[in-house]
Symmetry: C2
Subunit: 189 residues, 2 copies
DNA sequence: GTCTATAGATAGATAGAC
DNA sequence: GTCTATCTATCTATAGAC
């Protein structure tokens, strides 16, 4: 592992716990037994660390969505794919998702632009999947934006909950989240 | 409106947009055409402003939950009540919900303790409602914590989405959110 | 590549004049 | 109750010795 990677990994933990703005370069250096000034031999600014973390995961989501779009399968299967890659990432990189959710607005310049572009594209792709599901009568509920919002809000905050329940297996988690998002909770009447 | 209330209302807007840690007392003072020092004639610290905002809304949630618990109605009706007061608050005080979600960890001392206590009590009360619904066969899905998490994550982040869609009437919003959380989205098979 | 020292900006908060 | 002035602490980042 490179020094830069070590810095970024440490930052992931601290940023998640206390928020980007509350973590100083001195805090970060102390954890890896450095002086703050030395960090600058490996990274160019604090914001660069944030951008590395956030844009990396944003690019992963974009990549996964492009694969799903290329599959030519029905809406339900596509939604299952979206849920699957969110759960994967929640398990493997929960810090990055938390930081993306809470601190993306502290990105600057082109980093901020790139992030917003990827986020909006992702949301539009997911909206298209839902629209297609309604057209093909796979989805009964009619308000597209409420479906989109409900799915995304659950998937984006899954990391908060998984922390307390990391005993659950990856497959059980995928199954339960998929069921609840697609089928609801009530006994069918 | 008192001066203190004016300060808090201004803080609500700024804290929501940029996060508690990114807003300085000078930023806050500038908006209401004050000098930063003058703010301290009305509030004792920056953290007190945060606590006023966050604990106020936490107390509201606690109060509403206590009313629901006292009603002696079935689980479905109780869940509808929970959704209703979340939607009400999202429409009437979205800034406070956003700040509670993002910046509660910057509360200090007793403020932090009180917040955590109210949050945990609320979650436990909601878990009891869900458990009761499963016992009485109103709820089919079996994983209590996933139901709890899914409902709360959607309700807690509703403010993000309502911003873009504030054209929707309060009643339509309550109906759609209730439907999607309780009934799911797929065509019944 | 890590250090000490420090520049330069900005933070929360207080003292005291008016 | 609002101001100017300022204290003390802390921030990101750089300069230059080793």
């Amino acid at each position: 592992m490179t020094r830069k990677q070590e810095i970024i990994d440490t930052a992931k933990t601290l940023f998640r716990e206390r928020g980007y703005k509350s973590v100083s370069m001195r805090d970060l250096a102390k954890v890896i037994d450095f002086k703050a000034a030395s960090l600058y031999n490996h990274i160019s600014s604090k914001e660069e660390i944030l951008a590395d973390i956030v844009l990396d995961v944003a690019r992963y989501f974009t990549h996964e969505m492009n694969i799903i779009k290329s599959l030519n399968v029905d809406a339900k299967t596509q939604l299952e794919g979206v849920i699957k890659h969110h759960v994967d990432l929640t398990i493997n990189n929960p810090e990055a998702i938390a930081i993306l959710n809470n601190d993306w607005m502290h990105l600057e310049g082109k980093h901020l632009e790139d992030f917003k572009m990827m986020r909006d594209t992702y949301e539009n792709d997911l909206r298209s999947i839902i629209t297609q599901g309604i057209e093909h009568k796979e989805i009964a509920f009619q308000n597209i934006d409420i479906i989109l919002f409900s799915i995304l809000s659950t998937l984006r905050t899954l990391h908060l909950w998984y922390r307390k329940r990391s005993d659950l297996s990856e497959n059980d988690l995928k199954k339960d989240i998929t069921d609840i998002l697609l089928k609801g909770i009530l006994v069918k009447s």
